[in-house]
């Protein structure tokens, strides 16, 4: 575990495939172990933020949801029932908080151009390209496609789990995912 976290800087964000460890951390959080929270945060922050951003398309609001999510996770860790799908639980919280945010802010989701804070200082070529692709994704994909693609990219969830979190049929997940990637690839190619 320790070695894996050391590699983060080099290889980029780690893919979340260690459900057992996450569940362990949740159990620790239930005992008010703050270091467990810290580690949980480091391992899952991109998933949480990314998913929220894909729903809200607003960095300010997504940041709020991110904070609230971790606090909810921490303060309700004792209520979590280990079923091998910790990320599904966390991301469901993200989704619900995001929807509530939409409701209270009534921010509309038909905005074609989204607010994605993009910092361009210290960007190397790869980071700049990555940013382009992210921006493209937010531009050309519709709500569901965006959410599905982001979940795939950052959360390590399988199709079935994505279907659970988003409360849509798995067949929809599969077809939209395919369509989304096709759209993306097409747009990326057009830009080159």
């Amino acid at each position: 575990m320790f070695l894996m976290t050391m590699m983060i800087g080099q290889a980029g964000p780690r893919k979340l495939d260690d459900s057992a460890h996450l569940e362990y951390l949740i159990a620790q959080m239930a005992k008010e172990d703050v270091t467990a929270l810290e580690e949980f945060y480091e391992q899952t922050k991109t998933s949480v933020y990314g998913f929220s951003l894909s729903i809200l398309k607003n960095s300010f609001l997504a940041e709020d949801v991110m904070q609230d999510t971790f606090l909810k996770v921490y303060h309700n860790a004792d209520a979590y029932k280990p079923m091998g799908k910790p990320m599904a639980w966390v991301l469901t919280i993200v989704r619900n908080l995001s929807l509530m945010k939409i409701r209270s802010n009534k921010s509309s989701d038909y905005i074609p151009i989204e607010d994605i804070s993009i910092s361009d200082d210290n960007d190397d070529i790869q980071a700049a390209t990555d940013r382009e692709i992210l921006y493209t994704a937010f531009q050309v994909l519709n709500e569901e496609e965006r959410e599905i693609v982001v979940l795939h990219a950052v959360s390590g969830l399988k199709h079935r789990e994505i279907a659970d979190v988003m409360q849509i049929p798995i067949s929809t997940v599969l077809s939209k995912y395919r369509r989304a990637l096709t759209k993306l690839k097409k747009s990326i190619q057009e830009e080159e």
């Binding site: 964000p13 893919k15 703050v34 929270l37 810290e38 945060y41 922050k45 991109t46 933020y49 990314g50 951003l53 960095s59 300010f60 940041e63 991110m66 904070q67 609230d68 606090l71 909810k72 921490y74 303060h75 309700n76 209520a79 919280i93 619900n96 929807l99 509530m100 409701r103 009534k106 921010s107 509309s108 038909y110 905005i111 074609p112 151009i113 607010d115 804070s117 993009i118 361009d120 960007d123 070529i125 700049a128 390209t129 990555d130 940013r131 692709i133 992210l134 921006y135 493209t136 519709n142 569901e144 693609v149 982001v150 990219a153 950052v154 988003m166 409360q167 990637l181 993306l184 830009e191």
Partner: protein, 567 residues
């Protein structure tokens, strides 16, 4: 690029985007904070999700068992089976299949409800003869009047009813929507009726030279929907329609929608391109009583103090906000993106949000920057620099004022409205001034205000919240540059459309409370008067010495609802 490469790319990009909020989180891990975050069924148990109003969505609806929890992430996705039946039929014909037996002539086989404003229910037998007629509200009674429709054919009855409604002005050019709800246990019978009735209604309307918008749906006996209908004082058909709408978009509020007329509901459906299962729409809901998109756009730019010519509109459509039908408009003026909702009837502003953001419709080159050292170097702006930072210059990029927040101004900087301070933060006072001035309020208008420094998106910001009697403002101001990064403005209107003219006003509420308490105005400190969100009472609070007073005064009668003194 392979799928995998794209995914990795997104992963890396999002990882870079993710802000660091750990310290915020850690500061709230104490047990006291736990109370704020403890089990909230709505958030923790998705299977029991309910839209955040009081009502529970029907789970017994046999059409939607799997879909009733697919609240849809607030998406308005169009479904494959889109049917539009628009009818502005005032009457609601509810067809209910009571039983499927041989006593056809007297036993009702279907119940049909007509809703326009008047709400009428008809029961018909297998032979489509009217067996029973019920007026469901007062308007309906005035329609039915002396009519005896029993034993007439359904077609005749419908014709008569619709005629009457047109004559009595319930269906007009401006309000041309009718909802037909059919409750028949035999689906084929029901669908047949639906189609037939829609046709009948349209025929009648066109004989009056009216274009109708007919909405028709099949409904089934459902306890939850019945309860909702009763609670909100609307017909079962209307409640059913609203329920279907909410299932598509859980951000909608039932009672908000219940207050809308069928025409307004229809307009909403139209505007959002909602395709509700089982609901057919034909014709177009009339928006004649609204100011129109052009006028709405003008109103919106007026509200932000800009010129129509300077605005790039990104989107505009009708929607529901604070219980009112509004035009939602999004547009750029320079580098500020606005979202402005204006009331569809009169253009008054209902909501406004703005963000500083690079306008993707304008490719700007950085303004000429004078060199730091005044020497012979020409001041031609280096326009190629932005291109290097961005791989593809043809793609408009969204650049928040991040680069302008660096304290040292290095040429060429991206366009910055203010010179970045090299000495530190601008201070809360200055931030407040910036916010108030942007909002167009003077400090005497402010009823409450708070400010704090925070870190958002890896930037230090001042978060300012303040209110006037009518409006709530949230501002985020960059602590180094004074740029306004994010604004939310909301009218503190209640969602119940009660006329504000009937309220007693804050001044009177204040004096009633003070008088009741036996305190003179001059003795009261930190006095606050607020119209409560529900619009039904004023909250009046103040302090005298060590005592704090809290009052609730009825907004219409001035009665003291609650009085409390604490030390």
């Amino acid at each position: 690029m392979t799928n995998k490469e794209i995914q990795n790319s997104l992963n890396r990009a999002l990882d870079k985007q993710t802000p660091d909020v750990l310290h915020h989180i850690l500061s709230r891990t104490n047990p006291v904070a736990a109370n704020l975050y403890r089990l909230d069924d709505q958030v923790m148990n998705p299977e029991q999700e309910s839209s955040s109003n009081l009502t529970v969505l029907p789970s017994s609806d046999k059409d939607n068992t799997s879909k009733s929890s697919s609240k849809s992430s607030a998406t308005k996705r169009s479904r494959k089976n889109v049917f539009s039946i628009i009818g502005s039929i005032a009457a609601v014909f509810v067809v209910a299949f009571a039983s499927y037996n041989l006593y056809q002539s007297s036993v009702p086989q279907a119940m049909i409800e007509f809703d326009v404003n008047p709400s009428i229910a008809l029961e018909v037998n297998r032979a489509e003869k009217v067996v029973n007629v019920t007026a469901l509200n007062e308007d309906a009674q005035s329609i039915l009047g002396e009519m005896n429709l029993k034993n007439s054919s359904l077609d005749d009855a419908v014709t008569t009813l619709v005629d009457s409604m047109v004559d009595q002005g319930y269906i007009t050019d401006d309000t041309n929507s009718i909802l037909i709800s059919v409750d028949a246990q035999n689906d084929a019978f029901g669908t047949n009726l639906q189609d037939k009735l829609t046709g009948d209604v349209e025929t009648v309307l066109s004989s009056h030279s009216l274009n109708g918008a007919v909405l028709s749906q099949t409904i089934h006996e459902n306890q939850n929907v019945n309860t909702l209908a009763a609670e909100n004082n609307i017909s079962v058909g209307k409640a059913s329609l609203i329920t279907a709408l909410i299932e598509q978009d859980s951000t909608l509020d039932f009672s908000d929608l219940a207050h809308l007329s069928i025409n307004e509901l229809n307009i909403l459906l139209d505007a959002r391109k909602e395709n509700l299962k089982g609901v057919l729409m034909q014709g177009t809901a009339s928006t004649k009583s609204y100011i129109g998109e052009e006028a709405a756009k003008q109103a919106a730019v007026n509200h932000v103090g800009a010129n129509l010519a300077d605005a790039y509109f990104v989107d505009s459509h009708l929607d529901l906000e604070h219980g009112q039908i509004v035009y939602e408009l999004e547009f750029y003026v320079g580098d500020i993106k606005y979202e402005c909702d204006v009331n569809a009837l009169d253009g008054t502003m209902v909501k406004l949000e703005q963000e500083n953001e690079k306008n993707p419709f304008i490719i700007t080159t950085p303004p000429p920057v004078s060199p730091v050292v005044p020497d012979t170097t020409p001041t031609v702006p280096d326009t190629t620099v932005p291109d290097e930072a961005i791989p593809s210059s043809s793609t408009p990029t969204v650049i928040p004022p991040t680069s302008s927040s660096t304290p040292v101004a290095t040429p060429p900087a991206s366009s910055t409205p203010t010179t970045p301070s090299t000495t530190g933060y601008i201070g809360e006072e200055q931030a407040r001034r910036i916010a108030f001035s942007n909002a167009g309020v003077s400090s005497s208008d402010i009823t409450s205000s708070s400010s704090e420094m925070d870190q958002k998106m890896n930037r230090i910001v001042y978060k300012l919240e303040f209110e006037t009697l009518t409006t709530e403002y949230d501002y985020y101001v960059d602590a180094l540059t004074g740029d306004i990064l994010h604004v939310e403005v909301e009218n503190k209107s209640n969602s119940q459309n009660t006329s504000s003219q009937n309220r007693i006003g804050v001044e009177q509420a204040k004096s009633i409370a003070l008088q009741h308490a036996g305190v003179s105005a001059s003795a009261a400190h930190d006095l606050e008067v607020d119209l409560d969100d529900d619009g039904r009472h004023y909250d009046v609070e103040w302090e005298v010495g060590e005592y704090s007073y809290e009052y609730e005064i009825d907004a219409f009668s001035g009665a003291v609802l609650k009085a409390k003194v604490d030390d």
